[in-house]
Amino acid sequence: MKKILAILLAGVLTATAFAGCGGGNNSKGGASPFGDEKDVTLKVWAPDAAVELTKSQVEAFKEKYKDSGVNFNIEVVAQGENEAATLIVTDPDEAADVFGFPSDQLNRLMAAQVLTKVGSKYAKTLSEEGDNQNAEATIKAATFTVEGEEGLYAYPETNDNGYYLVYDNTVVKDPSTIEGVLSDCKAAGKTFVMDAGNGFYSCVFAFTGGAKIDGFEEDGETQKFTEYNEDEVVQTLMAFAKLMKTYKGTFISNDVASISTGFTNKKVGAGIDGPWDTAANKKALGEKMGAAKLPTVDVNGTPKQMVGLFGYKYIGVNSHTKYPKSAARLAEFLTSKDAQIERANQVNWGPANLAAVTELGDDPVLAALKEQSKPENSVPQVNISGTLWTSFGTLGSEMYKDSWNPDDQAATLALFKRIIANIRDE
């Protein structure tokens, strides 16, 4: 009954909406990119690091459209991307009209229906060859099918949201194997930092063993995994646990913030960190900073590539915005090739725009990230169940405990099975 009512009413509403809209546009005649929006007030969220830059880009946007006859009043508010989804989901009316967010929030934002679909014409240019083309993975991740219709729901902004190995190149000579990195650190009396108790980083242990996530099951909320060999995963986990034990005192599980601090006071030799700390690490190490993709780990004699999460950042348009056209134009502008290049130059964000990538050339960190983004080295940070973070966090912190026996195959298997069950909420 409820469903029938819903369909009926939705149908009527759609019809009236179409009628109303068509009429409205006809009377206006012209195809202004802003429709009939005249006095536009928009709020933009950008993380603190990019506020100044975004402000100047907004000015450029106003400059570009100064002849359109639209009166813009655009405010840029500093808002950490990690909280964007929480805030906008709590009250979309008060949230920003245009906002930046990382790819793992896509599902939450879609579930709360706060993202506006990118107009199909423009969306096409984002995936076709040309100056607007973005990395395929970034487009694919933000493409959703709602009520049978496929569409792109966010504008790709960066293709760099992953972690890599950052090291002091006077300490670590060969960054290609984790055993080498650890022994170099130990020899120099320094530590290697990885936040093993945090699911964002400790998922590496399971991913490397082959248990990678692969979107959702049919129900749209249970995490799906690629097919994996349980024994292989367990052997890999045991290899990691053994490393932690062998290099106890060198392999430190700690907050990533302690990496740049450790570089400054010369206690840390290497760590697994991401672009969000690049500036701090560069400042601490200067010329001595080295960056590389994640190293390999030795599992019973064979080196295996460590596999990390790798995500993207997007700019989204709030579906509750009062000025959808202006917001869309602004989002388009903020994710254009030039804007992405500007961002790479000023705040070290790796662009998603392919032309921008070519134009920028090689920076060691961006090169490491590019290497890391390859499918054999990473798992896309999309379609992630909320249960994943704490569960993988538990996996890492259990293995890191002093009391954990790295040779206990049965216990490792039991723990792994438990973790997978928790992630899948079984």
């Binding site: 603190d48 805030l87 920003a96 601090t261 400054t264 006071n265």
Partner: protein, 292 residues
């Protein structure tokens, strides 16, 4: 005999002094650590690798109040002086309203007799036991209907609305004031209203101070509800959310020492106030507690 008794008493007192001394050190040491590190010079945030700072500076405090950071490349949007002022205003307003409601409710329950009095008292007692997180989102949307979301007024409302439920201690205090006083006044023709303002209140200094103190501190410590209500309106943050923001994952690396300095700035005035009012606080809690 007497000598040995004296000796024994002296020994006992000595041991007690020793224990108390050690305990005081344990209790105060963390705060000494806080204060010392708030003056620390080097940029290292967490895990500095030593207990005592090596070099001291006022820079953290200067940065805190100028809203900049000398060791950050990118400036976060921190407005500590503004937040401090916000909190002060909210705390002052809500403590006036809270104190009034508490006194009104506790006087009513202590002195006036009416039909549903016991029922109301029972309801009031258990209402406060509901864990509040779930109601916060409802409060937010209620404030939104009133058009108050994101404004300081809404914080004042939220902090003082439930104050009436905490009447037990001051009711206990009012219960100890002899009823004969009221009766005498009634015979002289005083109304209940006059008794409340002219007789009971002047005698209730300890409990008034106690209520003022406890309700004044609330706004300085809440970081959950205030965050929900304020959202992205940094201008209207209170110090608690602000300090919480400084040790957020994005800012911890650069703002940790400012967080320490900010904590000291928040703690000092409240501590001073508390020390000054301690006597009344004890009197209030004792008088109310014996019966409550």
């Amino acid at each position: 005999m007497i000598k040995s008794y004296k000796f024994r008493r002296g020994l006992a007192n000595g041991i007690i002094y020793l224990i108390l001394g050690v305990m005081c050190i344990i209790w105060v040491l963390p705060f000494a650590y806080l204060v010392l590190h708030s003056f620390r010079l080097d940029g290292a945030p967490v895990g500095n690798g030593y207990i005592l700072p090596r070099q001291f500076t006022f820079r953290n405090y200067i940065d805190l109040f100028s809203g900049t950071s000398s060791n950050a490349d990118v400036q976060a949007s921190l407005y500590f002086p503004r937040w401090f002022l916000n909190t002060l205003v909210v705390a002052a307003c809500s403590c006036v309203i809270s104190t009034l409601s508490v006194l009104m409710v506790s006087y009513t329950f202590s002195r006036l007799r009416f039909g549903i009095r016991k029922t109301l008292m029972n309801i009031a007692m258990i209402l406060g036991m509901f864990p509040g997180f779930m109601t916060m989102i409802a409060m937010y949307y209620l404030l939104k209907i009133m058009g108050l979301n994101g404004q300081l007024v809404s914080l004042v409302l939220c902090y003082s609305c439930g104050a009436g439920l905490g009447f037990q201690i001051s009711k206990g205090f009012f219960d100890t004031i002899p009823r004969a006083l009221d009766e005498a006044a009634t015979i002289d023709g005083a109304t209940k209203n006059q008794i409340f303002w002219k007789i009971i209140l002047p005698m209730s200094k300890p409990i008034v101070v106690y209520t003022v103190l406890t309700s004044f501190i609330g706004p300085w410590t809440d970081f959950i509800l205030a965050k929900i209500i304020m959202g992205d309106k940094f201008n209207n943050y209170t110090v608690a959310i602000g300090l919480q923001k400084m040790i957020d994952i994005n800012f911890k690396t650069t703002y940790y020492q400012q967080f320490l300095a900010g904590s000291v700035v928040v703690a000092v005035p409240i501590t001073l106030l508390f020390l000054k009012m301690q006597k009344y606080y004890v009197e209030g809690v004792t008088a109310g507690g014996v019966k409550g």
